[in-house]
Subunit: 556 residues, 2 copies
Amino acid sequence: MPFSDAQNQSAVTTGPVFGSGKRYEPVPGRPGMSIPVRRVSLSNGEHFDLYDTSGPYTDDTAEIDVESGLAPMRTAWEHPEPIDGAATQLVWARAGIVTPEMAYIAAREGVGEELVRDEVARGRAVIPANHKHPESEPMIIGKAFAVKINANIGNSAVTSSISEEVEKMVWAARWGADTLMDLSTGKDIHTTREWILRNSPIPVGTVPIYQALEKVKGDPTALTWEIYRDTVIEQCEQGVDYMTVHAGVLLRYVPLTAKRVTGIVSRGGSIMAAWCLAHHTESFLYTHFVELCEIFRTYDVTFSLGDGLRPGSIADANDEAQFAELRTLGELTKIAKSHGVQVMIEGPGHVPMHKIVENVRLEEELCEEAPFYTLGPLATDIAPAYDHITSAIGAAMIAQAGTAMLCYVTPKEHLGLPNRDDVKTGVITYKIAAHAADLAKGHSRAQERDDALSRARFEFRWNDQFALSLDPDTARSFHDETLPAEPAKTAHFCSMCGPKFCSMRISADVRAYAEEHGLSSAEAIEAGMAHKSAEFARMGGSVYLPLLAKSESART
Amino acid sequence: MPFSDAQNQSAVTTGPVFGSGKRYEPVPGRPGMSIPVRRVSLSNGEHFDLYDTSGPYTDDTAEIDVESGLAPMRTAWEHPEPIDGAATQLVWARAGIVTPEMAYIAAREGVGEELVRDEVARGRAVIPANHKHPESEPMIIGKAFAVKINANIGNSAVTSSISEEVEKMVWAARWGADTLMDLSTGKDIHTTREWILRNSPIPVGTVPIYQALEKVKGDPTALTWEIYRDTVIEQCEQGVDYMTVHAGVLLRYVPLTAKRVTGIVSRGGSIMAAWCLAHHTESFLYTHFVELCEIFRTYDVTFSLGDGLRPGSIADANDEAQFAELRTLGELTKIAKSHGVQVMIEGPGHVPMHKIVENVRLEEELCEEAPFYTLGPLATDIAPAYDHITSAIGAAMIAQAGTAMLCYVTPKEHLGLPNRDDVKTGVITYKIAAHAADLAKGHSRAQERDDALSRARFEFRWNDQFALSLDPDTARSFHDETLPAEPAKTAHFCSMCGPKFCSMRISADVRAYAEEHGLSSAEAIEAGMAHKSAEFARMGGSVYLPLLAKSESART
């Protein structure tokens, strides 16, 4: 699969993230299996290990050759025998079997294997891992685990080349994307996807109706079940791990959108609505759903049941059309699971904050707690160019309420296709939303990172603060804009407050005083201070004068 | 007050925001009084009026001369007589008097004058309006009104000039800052503030302890009540509208911070903690609080009771130190109000999502619902360089819970001083958080803007979509990156999906079909479609083929 032209030969981004080194930690009881870890080595001699989605690209010792693709790691793993002809994580989990993927995931998430198996068996978590995508590093999507994020890439008829898309994939994974959707709609859909899959360490999702539509030259009325089915099989064979299927857009729901402010805003949903209306027939995705299940089961492809009628504006949130479709997705969830196929459910969209929780509650009720996978939601419509932010607000809240994976939104949403910078901004923004939700949910390891970073901040270990942050490069460059010199990396103040107004220094001084005087509790400190007031006052003149320097905040 | 050097002569930003024109709407029953409005004229002949904080700078017909300052608009207004020697909005409100400021605000907020008066009388809202800042356009901070945002500017010893700070003020107001804090700590504090005040159409706040500390050459132990008092009077005379006073940092609370991950992170709080420890004496801000009230009452300066012990990390959120101080702020609130002085309460900081609501609940309980004014809060510590986003999540949620004003956080938080671009990013991000909260609270006018923008989006009125957005310039430039030609501003697709995949076009087609056939309700549409299925199918081939084009989202 050579690239078609010289422009496509450009390399992808490699090398470790600032302050980090790649490690592989052995998985207990699984000889030869190890999980990737990003280790941040701190200047105080400690280290901090981070969940690592970046694949071999950040491994200094790895040889990267996009022409050859990544090593097919999972091929060597010993998988259980099929059960009643089905070889999916779901049927194995139900049979009480811990697969190699489950063991890998348990080590990666820092949880027990039994939790992983049980959540998959109950359909509350999915492991998107097509047998034909052995290059992928297993991961899990479910509310009992760390909240995940998905990055969308893909060219359109208007712009973008294959090599750009491969680099966007590597780049998204570098900054923490847990999964990737290739939403290409332009030329070379098949080839673009092939390059992405063979080089992707993270699961890849698609929306097969896009390619099917290309096959009928963009006329949705010309779509047929057969064309769609063949497209799905083609993509299953390539190794796509999960597919969005808008099988809940039923003919009778289409009129419910007529009075909306923004009608149907899902591409797939609108294509199917057009088909249903034109033929005045029920959607072939719905009528042929069982056949789809049989295909998916063969490869262990995961359904991502699409919300084709999701609201595209605040005015349309939580309306009849949206929830009617959700009820149908609930029916389809049961059918898919009865065929041993894993399922997650896509969610909105544009939803004001006070209507967010209802979405999760209904999804869990109607879809048997299948993992919820939402696009934002955007908490307001009025900020195009900042929709990564309008949606991060909604995303953090919906994840706190139980959403398992967040589909990122970039600054280009509503305006154009994301470039490489936009992809990074989208990923970092969504890592923030996901992590904020992990903190709020009390995820066992989440706060350790906040604490480590805050300790580094308090102790003026600037490089440690950068290295522990979601984006060390940008944090470092912002700091260097005003205080570029290397000694400033260890200075006990920053440009924000200057050397005389630093609250952290004063705090450190309070603590040093307490420790120096053996005051180990607040009460003891108070008592001690009363006795030693005169001494402290005498010290004060010399202690504080040089120490008064940097504040946490540009305020007060 | 000439600028001190040529560099300082640079002009400020003037001219209307893209797609908008300045208007002045007369205030009923107040001859000669009018409120500023930003009118967006839409391409469909409609218009949309926006609350306008930008002052005369966006008025094409205004003559701007920063050397002369703005016209002292409020000087000409007839104010009521003092009551028992007090001439504050609070005492007038309690006496049943609607002041000119209240009438102006009622027109601006689109509410009745009595609501404004009543909320001020109850202490649930404040109108920061020093008699000596007559250039300001009155505004209100309280949870019954639109959520407001504050922008911080100010130079430090390390960087920034006076003209830069004046431009930052004009720039912040242009993009929607409702109030401004000048947090300068470097040289020329007095002069910088004078330039800002004389040119500021929005209320200006300060933290007087910063200037007091400069007067004692940065040694907090050398501070005295007299030096502080004289600084406060100097700033009152200049026209500062509200002042942060960290009078709740008591000696006995300081030891509570010794075991924190990040100690004391407020500059003012740390200065007072150092003073208390060094002298082993209660804070002079606390012991002289009544005298402060008497000074503030003379000018109608509003207290912003500072949270000197706010948490600086997730680990320290909602701890004993923070809430001990909040209880003291509650006592001080009662004292200030008993002297006829307006009060608002500052809040955190760094707080994980699940601990946010408790902050509002406690503040309202302890401080008699005095307006809460919070800094974010940041929902996680791990994203320096993106703390406008980590904090927008917390800000939107805390405002939904009842916070009246949000202090912005810029991308430079923790790393350096914000430049002009950072100020804009901070303001737009916080307008998003405030607006998302207004929507969630059901604020009467909030959703109108979302609906107007979404209608423009759905109807491919690109320039209207830009003009109605929080940042038309950036939205437009993002769109133009991929489709720069002028005809693309009216094209029925964009670069995101290209001409064949546009869900909005399909939706428009569904609607057009319904309207053409006189189907006015969903039921009628469904019934009609059943009858007209054949006709629609015949149309379909020609209707959809050219129409299949742009999606709301880069996903599915």
